[in-house]
Amino acid sequence: MDFLIFKAPMLMVQASLDGILLGILFALIAYGMALQWGVMNIINIAQGDLVILGGYIAYTMYLAGIHPAWGVIVSPIIMFFVGWALYKLVINKVVDRDLFISILATFGIAIVFQQLMNFIFGADVVVAQSEYGTTMLFDNSVTLPNSKIFSAFISVLYAVALVIYMKKSRLGRAIRATAQNARAAKILGVDTEKVYAATFGINAALCGIAGALISITLTLHPYVGLPYTVRSFMIVIVAGLGNLPAVAVSGMGLGLFEEFADYILGTEFRIGAVFLLLVLILVYRRFKLSKKREYLK
């Protein structure tokens, strides 16, 4: 093995820390995807583009002279209404239909979003400077941007807040009831239409938070939405719907995988590795399930 990462243990620590902090961010996006998938039975290909849009909101604030970290409060609010509007315009027509219809429809939305963002914000790679500095660990051999620590902290904060909200509040209960059985919930007086809209809005708001955090930790570009969609999809199928601790763990696992793939395969193969991992996970899952089917025989 002639890879740099195996020779320098400090690089290993660096990659692990980076990966875990990044993974927490991915888990936040995946949580939104699990929510809408579980409640509305929709796979949203535009998930990643909602993230990027949220990031551009924070970036716009940065350009206007406001510290981009405030984006984690402003961006979800705006994105909630974007999500709500999106639901009312398109998603409500595909909720009860075939899943492929929802995939294609959100694919169309993703293309529109990408192009509009390209017009408004330009095709350059941008980053909002948080100027949080970096933390040096282990004799300056591991550098950790404070913005990454900040983003992981905020992600956990929001995730915990959302879990409590889903458990305690009236809307949260209605959402969970609809996820269990939409028809029964409707009979018992839950306005499912409103629940769906709120779910999609909350999902978009989560994307907004994640986007704002990405704008200060990573980079933004109008066309990098799809990898985020695929990452969150991957996390959800590994973790299962409605299993939040598993989502967090598999998010971190994905983050670790990516950082290590980055060092071992090279940065140019990073996105390719993510998509390949998706294929491998799905194929693995297919063989596991088919084994189960044979047992039943």
Binding site: I43, V90, I101, I103, A105, L116, F275, L282, R286
Partner: protein
């Protein structure tokens, strides 16, 4: 029966004559016509998966891109060192003679048909076991992964792209290049159409439909579904690879994510065209592709810069409001013309029910 056949004969011979005459009639639009042929081929082969088998794939772009790279690589690699060609400006140092060019493209197309089919067969067992949306997302990932990986491989040009061999300069006729690629793609179109039409009349199609309607039941009836799924996918891959090879030669330049594994354009187009025309019908994809191409060429220039927004909106509108496509709509309106007999009694009963 005989009468219908005669009608068909007139229709087909008319279309073939039109196809053969098209490059002379619309001599300025040869490239567009070539595109149209390739688009129809892609839509028809997608329809075999998405429409007939019920496996909505985004991954046929994989075979298209593979075919494109293979044709160009073989065409260059047969006569010159491939690595030096792609390194920088190889097309200036090495020049194909006329014979070499046509030999190369012939062998290249052959390879680009066979290898994708083999690839489809090899990955088919793993991938086609996935159902529904898992399959859709998996194939989406496959197409994009292929693009990203091809963009990192040095010998086929990596990120800076791959210039396919230019048309031999010894041929003086300026029209020759356009005509050559047009007739190549037209031949491919006829081949694909004949093949798909043959499938439509065969037991194979019934099996594919059975898989679409209820795979578990089909399996329970004793059909080896996996075998047929893989064969179906291999057929698609065969024609997609050929289409890719022709397009590579026509465009003259291969980029990993923008031309070859172009999931954002071609990959979506083929799905959209098949759905627009009506999936699960023989003529649907043909009509859908033709309409889409006219729409695209007519409107793209008018709304320059906004074309992708229009494309996205078009996808949403078609998918949400016309999931059955044009043929589905016609079928609902004029069921008699599709050979569906509706009793007057039935119709009356339905009216009464309403």
């Amino acid at each position: 029966m005989n009468k219908v056949k005669q009608k068909d004969l007139i229709l087909y011979s008319g279309l073939i004559i039109l196809g053969l005459a098209a490059p002379y009639l619309f001599s300025a639009f040869k490239v567009q016509l070539t595109y149209l042929c390739v688009l129809i081929v892609l839509a028809m082969t997608w329809n075999l998966q998405g429409g007939e088998m019920g496996y909505n794939t985004f991954g046929n772009i994989l075979f298209y891109g593979l075919g494109m790279y293979l044709t160009a690589s073989v065409q260059v690699g047969m006569f010159f060192p491939l690595a030096e060609w792609t390194e920088s400006g190889g097309e200036k140092t090495f020049v194909h003679t006329t014979a070499q060019y046509f030999q190369g493209i012939g062998v290249g197309l052959l390879v680009s048909a066979i290898v994708p089919a083999i690839v489809a067969g090899a990955i088919g067992y793993a991938i086609l076991g996935l159902r529904g949306h898992y399959f859709a997302i998996c194939t989406l990932g496959l197409g994009i992964a292929a693009g990203e990986i091809a963009g990192g491989i040095e010998i086929i040009g990596a990120g800076q792209g791959f210039t396919t061999p230019p048309f031999p300069a010894e041929i003086v006729d300026t029209e020759a290049r356009g005509k050559f690629f047009y007739f190549l793609s037209f031949a491919l179109l006829i081949g694909t159409f004949v093949f798909v039409k043959y499938i439509y009349g065969s037991r194979f199609r019934l099996i594919l439909n059975a898989i679409r309607d209820n795979e578990d039941k089909a399996e329970a009836m004793g059909i080896q579904t996996m075998k047929y799924k893989i064969v179906g996918w291999m057929c698609s891959a065969f024609f997609c690879g050929l289409a890719g090879g022709i397009m590579g030669g026509l465009i003259g330049y291969i980029d990993s994510t923008d031309v070859a594994f172009d999931g954002r354009e071609m990959g979506v187009f083929m799905v959209l065209m098949a759905i627009l025309g009506g999936k699960g019908t023989l003529w649907g994809p043909v009509i859908g592709a033709t309409l889409f191409h006219f729409f695209k060429e007519g409107l793209w220039t008018l709304i320059l810069g906004w074309q992708y927004v229009a494309l996205g909106v078009l996808i949403v509108v078609i998918v949400v409001y016309f999931p059955e496509g044009l043929m589905g709509w016609l079928r609902e309106k004029y069921p008699e013309r599709f050979g569906e007999v509706i009793d007057d009694k039935d119709r009356k009963a339905q009216v009464e029910l309403k």
